[in-house]
């Protein structure tokens, strides 16, 4: 399984422009404040791991970053350009679902529960976006999809349907599917939490290869070993705010915040 080709498309922006950035992100459900002004940025080629207790708002933050839900306040920037909303005369305008669909194509998302399309083979799960979004010929789309399945080590499962694949295989197909439009950044929401322990390794291996190939990745995870080995930076998220951000050794060996120490004492 080798990911020799770089996945991120060439971009010649200023190195200091973050690939993905959120500013002052707020979100409440029925008056219950889930995100309380999140500031987060990731540069090209970086891998950031996000840890945090259940219910702290990690999934919500990813859904807002992926433009799957509107923020109550704040903004999302991709390569320095505001996406999802625009500002006009001091007012925030939420983009239409049609425009959001276009903006989402540069962001890949991998879900905890895979969410593969059960009515399509592994190959067609990956090919769908090429056919429906880029209007690529079915045979060409399938060929591209096949190469991606090869990259996640599933060429021999191309014609299998999701119900015929193990959880680990399904998640690898889901990763291939999210890669198919060459996103600038990949978001992973606890990609291994729904897997049997013996299947976690194969998915993490694919993600590690992806990181090595230069993909920009935000990974919400409970896998502290993965975070330590692969991430450039580890973030602790709690109660809708970022508590601590540091490079992995610093984060795990010498956490600055009391909250981080308490969290780490539970997971270790």
């Amino acid at each position: 399984m080798s990911l020799d080709k770089p996945v991120a498309p060439d971009r010649s922006e200023n190195e200091s422009t973050p690939t993905l950035q959120v500013k002052n992100l707020h979100k409440a459900y029925n008056g219950n404040e889930v995100l309380k002004g999140v500031e987060f940025a990731i540069n090209r080629g970086q891998v950031k791991a996000i840890l945090g207790p259940s219910g702290s708002g990690k999934s919500t933050m990813l859904r807002l970053m992926a433009l799957l839900e509107p923020a109550d306040d704040g903004a999302v920037f991709l390569d320095g350009l505001q996406i999802g909303t625009s500002n006009s005369k001091g007012k925030t305008i939420h983009h239409s679902e049609g425009k959001l669909a276009v903006e989402r194509r540069d962001i890949g998302m991998v879900f905890q529960r895979f969410n593969l399309f059960p009515h399509l083979s592994a190959l067609d799960n990956v090919a769908l976006a090429l056919i429906s979004v880029q209007s690529i010929k079915r045979s060409d789309a399938r060929e591209t999809a096949f190469r991606l399945l090869e990259r996640v080590g599933l060429a021999d499962r191309a014609s299998h349907f999701p119900s015929e694949l193990s959880g680990g295989q399904q998640q690898r197909v889901a990763i291939a599917r999210a890669l198919v439009l060459k996103p600038h950044v990949m978001l992973f929401d606890e990609p291994t939490s729904a897997l049997d322990p013996e299947l976690v390794g194969e998915v993490l291996e694919v993600m590690e290869d992806l990181a090595a190939s230069g993909m920009t990745m935000i990974v919400v995870t409970h896998e502290t070993r993965f975070a330590r080995r692969v991430a450039n930076e580890v973030t602790l998220f709690d109660s809708g705010v970022i508590v601590e951000q540091a490079e992995p050794n610093e984060f795990f060996e010498n956490p600055q915040h009391e909250r981080t120490k308490r969290f780490l004492s539970h997971v270790h």
Partner: protein, 246 residues
């Protein structure tokens, strides 16, 4: 007057019955198509968050669930042409009136079948489709509908059989469908047993064919590589070629 097999067999191959059966199935097919299209939009309307879409959908279902199909057919054939002169021409046939009338009534029931089928699709499916960058119509057509259709197929098959039987109501607007054909024969000959038995046979054959077709269609929705081999050989072959290429 005993059961006369001679008369029975004569009628069994009588083209009038075949034509009657054809009309019955035709009315059922057209009204189901009409009902499915209207029902789909009613289902979308009922699940919408916008009141101007929800209210008309509810009103429609409320209205057509209350009316007897027979009354709707009588209105379609007798009352409407009085109100709309355009309907007084030749193209407005009993067949058309029956198909539309039954379709309008059936739409109220298809709306509920389609609504529950759509809501049975896991929320993560549309979410994944949207995350891929599919436009709303593509999410519906490529991701949600195929899965909803699988859920809707069995109850829709039942509705279709129901419509075959309801099409006999169209006798009141002088459509010579299957049952009317039998009744006309009876009125002339008074051979009740023979003519009704022929009708029974025809209905049994029609419903048996529907049941077989339905289970064939449902097999296409198994979503396993084995079922693909059976129904979609071409895509398999191209896939094998791909695998051999490398």
């Amino acid at each position: 007057m005993l059961f006369d097999p001679q008369i029975f067999l004569e009628q069994l191959v009588n083209p009038a019955y075949l034509w009657g059966a054809f009309l019955s199935v035709g009315v059922a097919v057209f009204s189901l198509l009409i009902a499915t299209v209207i029902g789909f939009f009613l289902a979308l309307g009922r699940t919408s968050k916008k009141l101007f879409l929800v209210a008309p959908s509810h009103a429609y279902v409320w209205f057509f669930r209350a009316l007897p199909a027979l009354l709707v057919l009588l209105i379609m054939w007798n009352a409407l042409p009085q109100l709309l002169p355009a309907l007084r021409s030749d193209w407005y046939t009993p067949f058309l009136a029956a198909s539309i009338g039954l379709g309008l009534v059936e739409a109220a029931f298809m709306a509920e079948i389609i609504r529950s089928a759509l809501s049975s699709v896991d929320e993560g499916q549309a979410l994944a489709g949207r995350a891929l960058g599919l436009k709303p119509a593509s999410v519906m057509i490529k991701v949600v509908l195929p899965q909803a259709i699988r859920t809707a197929l069995p109850p829709t098959g039942n509705e279709f059989i129901g419509l075959i039987k309801y099409s006999s109501l169209a006798s009141v607007i002088s459509l010579r469908e299957l049952l009317t054909t039998a009744q006309v024969g009876v009125n002339i000959t008074f051979r009740y047993a023979e003519y009704y038995t022929v009708a029974i046979i025809y209905y049994l054959v029609i419903v048996t064919i529907i049941t077989v077709v339905q289970s064939r269609v449902e097999r296409k929705f198994l979503w396993t590589s084995k079922s693909v081999k059976r129904v979609d050989r071409t895509s398999r072959t191209s896939l094998n070629q791909l695998e051999e290429q490398k």
